[in-house]
Amino acid sequence: MHDGSHAVALESHWGGGVSPFGATWQKTMMWIFIVTDGLLFSGLLSGYAFLRMSSLAPWPDRTSVFSIPFIALMTFILITSSATMGTAVGASKLGDRKTALRFLILTIAGGAAFLGCQAYEWTHLIEHGARLTSNPWGSPQFMQSFFILTGFHGSHVLSGLVVLTITAIRTAMGKTPAQGVEMAGLYWHFVDLVWVFIFTLYYLV
């Protein structure tokens, strides 16, 4: 039947013979989760497009509401934390637990810094009168989209931090298999991926 020459996956395939994706069931399930979570954000972004296009009040100029260098800094932090996460995944695959742990901690620091920036941004805007249903700079739908989009993204960063902290502690104890770090990494990169879309479609376009 199949020659099996491409079956290079290191860990067990799901039972039932040929694995459709040549991946472990853990990875397959993680990808199913990521696709469904991605659909959540594509729904939110479509809703944002609807709100923006149907708004009669003028859509505020982003530079007058946000500090773009500050948003750029947040983006830089998140991209960097994704690179440190990739390094942690690579190190744990090579069995280098010390490097993996070091880069996991760096990733956690990056994620926490990003959340701190977001908390600062929210506080700043709320102090200036921004609410879920009102916006001192123009269209109320602008602030509605802002709080919903960045709120959902921020909650993903927060849950990512919980996952990473558990992974780091278990790595320090030598309990996390390389695949565990890889799964946490997939989720963390996904959070970065969502930010790419929010950053472009909300802050720049």
Partner: protein, 114 residues
């Protein structure tokens, strides 16, 4: 993956990707400064947003090392569903907008006046 031994650091790919993502981000921020026609600006931003997404999916999330069908089902599933969602939801916004901009039914109000 034999390329880990061939190129010194096994983590090189992540930091190359990091550098490319940063350069693209800076280019996107800079594009805002030029007064391009809006269509070109939006097109430029969306194309590079998709390039960034591909770099993250391929290099960080290892989709380029997985079997092709996994990458296909993830990318096609998300892309097709997003296009369907967007194209069915957003055109309605124009009719909502048109209804909102109609003059308010103020003419009817005096009838309620005692």
């Amino acid at each position: 993956m034999s390329d880990t031994a061939a190129h010194g650091s096994p983590y090189r790919i992540y930091w190359i990707t990091w550098g490319i993502l940063l350069v693209i981000t800076v280019a996107m921020l800079a594009a805002e400064r030029f007064h391009l026609p809006r269509v070109f600006l939006v097109l430029f931003l969306i194309v590079f947003m998709l390039v960034k997404a591909t770099m993250i999916g391929g290099n960080f999330m290892h989709l380029r090392y997985e079997q092709r069908n996994l990458a296909f089902i993830v990318a096609a599933g998300l892309l097709v569903t997003s296009v369907i969602l967007f194209s069915f939801i957003t055109p309605e916004s124009l009719s909502v907008r048109a209804r909102r901009s109609e003059p308010a039914p103020a003419a009817a109000v005096p009838a309620h006046h005692p």
